[in-house]
């Protein structure tokens, strides 16, 4: 095991544990915080994979925006939560299904001839920018349209209507 693998292993463990907590912790607030842990781990992995810019975006948008939004939502809907709620009844079948899925995926990918080492090097930000304004210019424009419309639409949907509190 070389030295480069150590941070990867730690980050992987962080991500896995965080993800496990996200889906199993009874307290939703803690689960959300665990998700933050996952995000952090992923961002770390991105750095290890030479995608520093992406790691930055991951932290900014995921941790800075989405997670905050979610935690906000949890607190907002706090009044609807019940303290004693039995866990879902389909945990066992769900676990079996997820495990089966994992088994399938793992079996399919494990046997493949992947490169033994992750190729080194880092993505230059300029390349990424070039891709975004050249090859992927159209998706880039489209997603901005999506942002606008989704926000307006979400407001329209979430806004209180007549006769409702």
């Amino acid at each position: 095991m070389n030295t480069a693998a150590v941070p990867l292993a730690i980050l992987s463990a962080l991500v896995l544990v965080g993800a496990l907590w996200v889906v199993t912790l009874h307290n939703l607030f803690r689960a959300a915080l665990s998700l933050g842990l996952v995000f952090l781990g992923i961002a770390g992995l991105f750095i290890c994979l030479g995608a520093e810019f992406l790691a930055l975006v991951q932290l900014l948008i995921y941790v800075g925006a989405i997670l905050v939004l979610i935690i906000f939502a949890i607190m907002l809907t706090n009044s609807w939560q019940r303290e004693t709620l039995p866990a879902s009844r389909q945990r066992l079948p769900a676990a079996l299904a997820a495990l089966a899925l994992f088994a399938l995926l793992a079996r399919a990918t494990w046997v493949l001839a992947w490169p033994a080492q992750i190729p080194g090097g880092a993505t230059r930000l300029k390349d990424l920018g070039l891709v975004l304004v050249k090859t992927l210019v159209l998706p880039f424009e489209v997603i901005s349209l999506i942002f606008v419309v989704v926000v307006v639409g979400a407001i329209a949907v979430a806004a209180p209507r007549k006769g409702q509190s």
Binding site: S88, A97, L104
Partner: protein, 632 residues
């Protein structure tokens, strides 16, 4: 010889029918005369062509009716046999028509009566003229229809309506036999429906087949000529107006069966003739005994008709078809006369129950006289028509088998007994109390035909008497039978005995039986008086089962066929229609199970849709896993 004018003979009455049915209402009394004129014209036309049959040259007129793998011809043909029938039908028909103008006077459906009457005559003439079985069958069926229409002419009376239906259905059973016979005859190798070809056919077709065919044809005759066991309709047919009874149910139509046998005689094999003989004999005796016990004038006459028809069939069965035809002719005259006279009585008294009649000889002398003549003719008094024809049959029977001769002789005695009983009780004895009005002689328009018929009934037999026999010449039988003295004497003896018994037992009401036989006699009498319970038997064994089967099948149709399709376990009307649909697809009897499965599947689909989104998600994930496992 080709002669298209032949078609005119039935066409006259047919035209009369058409006019009457369309415009009869406006013709009023003239409608009767239209019918009479049409018949008379047919008679005239028949008479003008007399030379051809006598010369042995048939007149023929044929045309194509249907096409298939071969043309199906229809044709008219006049030979001796048919010419005789034509004369009988037209002459008796026109006389009865005259009589009916008086008898039916004042009836609301006066013209309708004559329309049917004309149609009947047309059909009967067509039947006589037919040169093949197909046209014969067509006319045969038309006559059945007329019979139906005329029997239920006074349809307001439920019994009349029922009688009409009974007649039609019963004869139709026979007709189906005839029809099947025709089908067989048409398609056996070398088969043909032409009468002229029948002798050839008979030689070329195997005997068992021929027996089958002839028996099927005989089945038709049994129906139409009211032979046992299809005789039940004829007595009921007396519900119709009396002239109808006279013409159709005594003189002509019922004789068509006999005529049919005569026409197709070459087809009959010894085996089938044996059956014919048996049936004829049974009918003859059995109807005679019933006639002895009946108390309704017309019913006595009806059973007597049955009996006489049985006699003719017996003659056919022993191969003496000319004799049978001869008896047919004489019977036509005297039976028509008997019926008309009876009608005259009924017309005068509005009564036909023997117990309420009597002593009419004084008030109705003409009727009484002609009735007597006809009775004697039927009983076979030497010199009268009936004697000659019955004599011919007895003679033939003696040649055939002595025992048959004795049976027939007994039958002759029985004939005399019932007719004498009828005559005596009707015209002699104490006059019955009258209801409202005194009986009187019928008007001239009715009595004149009676007189004319009486002449016929007395004399027509001479045409077939030994020595002078144009009748047999016409039929192409040249060895005329001689006069056999013993037979004549014996039949006269039978007449004497019969009339004496009738006088003592029937009229004077003496029971001649020794005491120990009386219960048995009474039982026999009851049996005969109830017509041997044949009607009841049919009701129980045939009619009820058929109706029950109909009802059963109807229920079956509703419940099982439709229900199998609809699903008997219906939850809601529409849910079951789902099944209806499925079942149709599967075409299976045990479709219910499948229908339930369908709805079950539908329900499973509903059950899957729990509304819990995570159930859906779980199912989707499982589906992914399953698909991933299967896709390789």
């Amino acid at each position: 010889m080709i002669m298209p004018q032949l078609a005119l003979i039935p066409a006259f009455p047919l035209a009369a029918f058409a006019i009457l049915i369309l415009a009869g209402r406006h013709l009023g009394r003239w409608s009767a005369w239209l019918a009479i004129v049409a018949l008379a014209a047919a008679l005239g036309l028949t008479l003008t062509i007399w030379h051809a049959p006598f010369a042995g040259q048939p007149l023929i007129f044929q045309w194509t009716w249907l096409i298939g793998s071969q043309p199906w011809l229809l044709g008219l043909r006049v030979d001796g046999l048919s010419w005789i029938m034509l004369v009988v039908v037209t002459s008796i028909g026109s006389l009865i028509a005259c009589y009916s103008t008086g008898y039916m006077h004042g009836d609301p459906r006066y013209s309708r009566f004559f329309a049917y009457f004309s149609l009947f005559c047309a059909a009967m003439l067509g039947l006589a003229l037919a040169d093949n079985l197909l046209l014969l069958f067509i006319c045969w069926e038309l006559m059945g229809l007329c019979s139906y229409l005329l029997i239920s002419f006074w349809f307001e009376k439920p019994s009349a309506a029922a009688a009409g239906r009974k007649a039609f259905l019963t004869t139709r059973v026979g007709d189906v036999g005839l029809f099947a016979g025709i089908l067989c005859l048409a398609w056996v190798p070398h088969g043909s429906l032409q009468f002229a070809a029948l002798p050839v056919v008979a030689q070329q077709v195997a005997t068992p087949t021929l027996t089958l065919i002839s028996l099927l044809i005989f089945m038709g005759a049994v129906g139409k000529s009211a032979q046992f066991p299809l005789h039940v309709w004829l007595p009921d047919a007396m519900e119709g107006p009396t002239p109808v009874s006279a013409l159709i149910h005594a003189a002509t139509m019922v004789a068509a069966g006999v005529y049919l046998i005569a026409r197709t005689f070459p087809l009959f094999t010894p085996a089938s003739l044996h059956v014919v003989l048996t049936i004829g004999l049974i009918t003859h005796v059995f109807a005679g005994t019933i006639a002895l016990t009946m108390t309704d004038i017309k019913r006595v006459l009806a059973y007597s008709t049955l009996s006489q028809l049985g006699l003719m069939v017996v003659a056919m069965g022993i191969g003496a078809w000319p004799a049978a035809m001869f008896h047919l002719v004489t019977h036509a005259y005297f039976k028509a006369l008997l019926f008309l006279a009876a009608g005259s009585v009924i017309h005068a008294t509005h009564e036909q129950e023997l117990s309420k009649l009597g002593g009419l000889a004084r008030t109705m002398p003409i009727t009484s006289t002609v009735f007597l003549i006809a009775s004697l003719s039927m009983s076979g008094l030497v010199g009268l028509s009936g004697f000659w024809s019955k004599d011919a049959i007895l003679l033939a029977a003696r040649h055939y088998a002595p025992w048959l001769f004795w049976v027939l002789l007994g039958g002759a005695g029985m004939t005399t007994a019932y007719i004498a009983r009828l005559y005596l009780r009707c015209f002699y004895g104490a006059a019955a109390p009258h209801h409202g009005h005194a009986p009187h002689e019928s008007p001239a328009i009715m009595s004149l035909p009676l007189v004319a018929l009486a002449v016929g009934a007395a004399l027509v037999g001479w045409i077939g008497s030994p020595g002078f026999s144009p009748f047999f010449t016409l039929l192409g039988v040249h060895e005329a039978h001689g006069f056999d003295l013993p037979v004549a004497a014996l039949s006269t003896l039978a007449l004497a005995v019969g009339s004496t018994v009738a006088w003592i037992v029937g009229f004077r009401r003496r029971n001649l039986l020794p005491a120990f036989l009386r219960p048995a006699g009474l039982a026999l009498y009851r049996l005969a008086a109830h017509k041997y319970y044949v009607d009841e038997l049919y009701q129980r064994l045939l009619i009820h089962p058929v109706w029950a089967l109909g009802g059963l099948l109807s229920t079956f149709d509703r419940v099982v066929v439709d229900g199998a399709v609809n699903g008997s376990g219906r939850v809601g009307a529409w849910a079951s229609e789902v099944q209806a649909w499925i079942d149709r697809e599967i075409l299976d009897r045990c479709v219910n199970a499948i229908g339930t499965t369908t709805r079950g599947l539908g329900r499973v689909m509903r059950w899957i849709q729990t509304g819990m989104v995570q159930h859906y998600l779980l199912m989707a994930v499982i589906a992914v896993v399953v698909l991933a496992v299967t896709v390789r």
